[in-house]
């Protein structure tokens, strides 16, 4: 039965991917990409990877869809045909290259251990310690959170910096060069009364859910990345329905940038504090008298840092894009 569901979801994934390639309406492509994300998330759930599924649902199906839509409102909805037929566009060559790459990947799967096999190297080498000892070494129920925030916490620090770098890139390249945003424009969906009323009720719930995901990450799927994305989406919703000018009253440019920086600094400071207390960078055992308590504190603060930076950067990206659209006047 389970393999039957696998086959259905995977064939839906392939169909969606083919549709994404063939459809010329970029609005439809964006929605299909969102569906692709949701399907992947469901597939991850079937593979018992709930944290990954949650992230994919929040990022792949959720936030990236919104960001691409915002971009589309600036660039126009339809793919333009290649202007110069003699340009470097060589679909046959590209297809050949992709086919070779795909064939090589399939070739590589032949000697892989079977999925979920108990004697696969991934199950027998590093993972047993995470599964067996994290209960005493870190003492939180969600092992994924232990690995992410403590055993491999330095990678996660790097990931937060990746998000931060993306925010810096957007600010550096498309931040409004004009000092002030022009006179208020009406929100794109301002006339939808039903949407406005429903979303007014939903926004506080979304924010509370974001906080729940943030602080519940040690017990179930969740954590700073997903929480930050969910929290930011409440701001997007508000901006889309009530206009950027209204949303700007809540989100101040200087403050949101400062928050993005502070999240990274919070994460890093936890590491530095451990160093000052005599441990290695990010060694949470040195944060409190007893090791497990230190681990709990460390994970709490680094996850908070992640959440703050992710939410702020998402808001920065969305607002920078939207403001840019206003500055450029009406889209064509």
């Amino acid at each position: 039965m389970e393999s039957f569901i696998h086959i259905i979801i995977l064939s839906m994934l392939v169909t969606t991917a083919v549709a994404i390639v063939r459809v010329k309406d970029l609005f439809a492509v964006t929605m299909l990409a969102g569906i692709y994300g949701l399907l992947s998330a469901s597939f991850f759930v079937l593979m018992d990877a709930h944290d990954v599924a949650f992230t994919e649902a929040a990022v792949g199906a959720g936030i990236s869809t919104i960001l691409i839509l915002t971009t589309l409102s600036m660039t126009g909805r339809f793919e333009k045909a290649a202007e110069n037929p003699k340009s470097n566009y060589k679909p046959a060559l590209a297809l050949a290259l992709v086919t070779v790459t795909g064939a090589l990947l399939i070739y590589g799967t032949q000697d892989m251990p079977a999925f979920g096999a108990a004697d696969a190297p991934v199950q027998t080498h590093v993972v047993p310690r995470y599964l067996n000892d994290s209960a005493t070494e870190i003492d939180i129920p969600n092992v994924v959170a232990s690995v992410l925030a403590s055993y491999r916490g330095y990678d996660t620090f790097g990931e937060v910096v990746v998000i931060f770098t993306a925010g810096i890139g957007v600010l550096a390249l498309i931040m409004s060069t004009a000092s002030k945003a022009p006179v208020a424009l009406r929100a794109s969906m301002e006339e939808h009364v039903v949407l406005r009323i429903v979303s007014k009720m939903l926004i506080p719930l979304i924010m509370i859910f974001g906080l729940y995901v943030q602080f519940h990450g040690e017990y179930g799927p969740g954590g700073g990345f997903q929480a930050g994305v969910i929290f930011a989406s409440a701001f997007f919703l508000y901006a889309m329905l009530f206009g950027l000018t209204a949303a700007r009253k809540v989100v101040n440019n200087t403050w949101i940038q400062a928050l993005a920086a502070l999240g990274v600094l919070l994460y890093g400071s936890v590491g530095v504090l451990a160093m000052i207390n005599g441990g290695n960078f990010l060694d949470y055992n040195f944060l409190a008298q007893d090791d497990v308590h230190g681990q709990h504190m460390g994970i709490l603060f680094v996850e908070l840092g992640v959440g703050i930076t992710v939410a702020s950067v998402m808001i920065i990206i969305f607002f920078t894009f939207s403001t840019r659209k206003q500055r450029d006047g009406e889209p064509d």
């Binding site: 080498h125 916490g153 990746v162 600094l265 890093g268």
Partner: protein
């Protein structure tokens, strides 16, 4: 704090970057970024001396021992590269404040410095880590920051160049990630030393072959090995001049380092060179790269683009050194990595000075420019001689060891090809010298002054380094010799 040096040199710039966002004022941001970079440079130098005295250093992130946690590992192979990255970055930042005045709008300067710090931290992180997945994370940091830095170029084509690099770089990074993932599937570990121990058990599997192929192709994309170099010339030509200085001297070197680390340390010499026709592939592509790129360089009017093609050719030499599969060969590659960083740093920085005064770096507008900007062009001349490989410059040392490695293998035609490649570089450097020194000033020559000291001083520091390490080779040669010996001695 001494025990923390290996992590400090990455987290200083990594945490200075968000701190810069809080400072906001661009003068303040520049000062703080430069201070942080010099601090990082000092840490790297201390690290190198520590490694030379007492051998490799291992540092456990979060106190978790490898392979459960992430390990930083500094040895003879990566310590000199760390010094090169932070050193070039520090010197270039001194000149950056002046150089970007005319190239980047003022309200973007703060973001420019932040992206710079992130880029440097990313490159340092890739180099310092002993964990395969951590390589990928820091690769993402440096790549994203690099795309930003390139896109900040004055010319609108910088955006297009950056986008092309983004697509190529993302494909490269994805291939690297696929490679790492497949390695993890077969071994259950991400730690490089642990991988090296566990890979032999499974090395005769299709999955490990595929992992190797994907990883190496991905890295070749990042290091712009001919014919995967197509993103590089535009990116270097249209990026702000000071960014090109930094990237040309460091970024591709880091990718070459990753390649060496994985070929020799992780997969091991036997696997890489006996199971794969790696030697033939790398030699062919290396030589092809030297010739094609050098010949294309001869026909460029934009000198930044000319030097970019020259970089592709120089990468050919680096790859050729690896293909010798010998201790002398790998030593020549390591030596040329450091030396090429110095020469390209000097050459591109002299172009930054030209662009500062002229607004462009087109040869057609540089008739007799040496009489107007004597110090800048003298620096270019010495950098050029170094690139050609004239004695008393670092270039000569590199070429010397490359040729002797070729002869050691008995590869006479390859040795001849290396010398022929040098002759090609004589042509494209000479074109510039002829126009700048021997053409008389015409009406089209802009009436400009010598570049300001804020660019000239960093420029001449690099030029003198080219000469110093060309004459006193004891440090660079001994370090790279030890690194090469480690790579061949520590083999299974």
């Amino acid at each position: 704090m001494i025990v923390h040096l290996s992590v400090l040199q990455v987290i200083i710039p990594l945490m200075a970057a968000p701190a810069c966002l809080l400072l906001r004022k661009r003068e303040l941001v520049w000062a703080f970024a430069t201070l942080a970079t010099f601090l990082t440079f000092a840490v790297s130098v201390l690290l190198l001396s520590q490694v030379m005295q007492s051998g490799a250093i291992s540092y456990e992130m979060g106190g978790w021992e490898a392979p459960w946690g992430i390990e930083y590992r500094i040895d003879m192979l990566n310590a000199p590269l760390l010094v090169l990255i932070s050193g070039i970055s520090a010197i270039a930042l001194l000149a950056a404040r002046t150089s970007i005045e005319n190239e980047i709008p003022e309200n973007r300067h703060s973001f420019f410095y932040i992206a710079w710090l992130l880029c440097m931290a990313g490159l340092l992180g890739i180099t310092a880590t002993g964990d395969a997945f951590n390589v990928f994370v820091f690769l993402e940091i440096s790549s994203l920051a690099t795309y930003t830095l390139i896109a900040l170029g004055k010319d609108r084509r910088a955006l297009w160049a950056s986008f092309q690099y983004l697509v190529a770089g993302t494909i490269g990074a994805t291939f690297i990630l696929i490679g790492i993932g497949l390695m993890y599937v077969m071994t259950g570990t991400l730690n490089m030393a642990d991988l090296a121990q566990r890979l032999p058990e499974v090395e005769n599997t299709k999955t490990v072959f595929t992992a190797f192929a994907f990883f190496i192709v991905g890295v070749c994309m990042k290091l712009a090995l001919f014919p995967l170099h197509l993103w590089l010339p535009n990116a270097y030509a249209f990026a702000p001049s000071i960014v090109t200085t930094f990237l040309a001297a460091t970024a591709t070197k880091v990718a070459v380092y990753v390649m060496i680390r994985f070929i020799f340390d992780v997969f091991g010499f036997e696997f890489s060179f006996t199971h794969f026709p790696l030697q033939e592939i790398l030699m062919t592509l290396g030589i092809a790269g030297i010739f094609v790129a050098s010949i294309v360089a001869i026909y460029q009017d934009n000198l930044k683009r000319m030097l970019a093609y020259s970089s592709v050719a120089q990468i050919g030499y680096l790859i050729l050194g690896i293909s010798f599969a010998s201790q002398t060969g790998i030593m020549a590659t390591l030596l040329h990595m450091l030396n090429h960083g110095l020469m390209k740093g000097a050459l591109f920085l002299s172009m930054a000075a030209v662009v500062y005064r002229l607004g462009v770096a087109n040869l057609s507008q540089m008739h007799g420019i040496a009489s107007r900007m004597p110090l800048t062009m003298a620096a270019f001349l010495i950098g050029g001689l170094s690139l050609i490989g004239v004695p008393l410059t670092v270039g000569f040392i590199s070429k010397w060891y490359l040729v002797s490695a070729a002869l050691e293998n008995g590869w006479w035609p390859v040795a001849a090809a290396i010398l022929l490649g040098s002759l090609l570089s004589v042509i494209y450097i000479w074109r510039v010298i002829e126009v700048a020194y021997f053409k008389s000033v015409t009406e089209s020559t802009p009436d400009v002054k010598e570049a300001p000291f804020s660019i000239l001083i960093p420029l001449w520091i690099l030029v003198l380094a080219n000469l110093y390490f060309g004459i006193d080779t004891s440090l660079t040669v001994s370090v790279t010799q030890m690194a090469a010996a480690d790579l061949f001695g520590g083999l299974r």
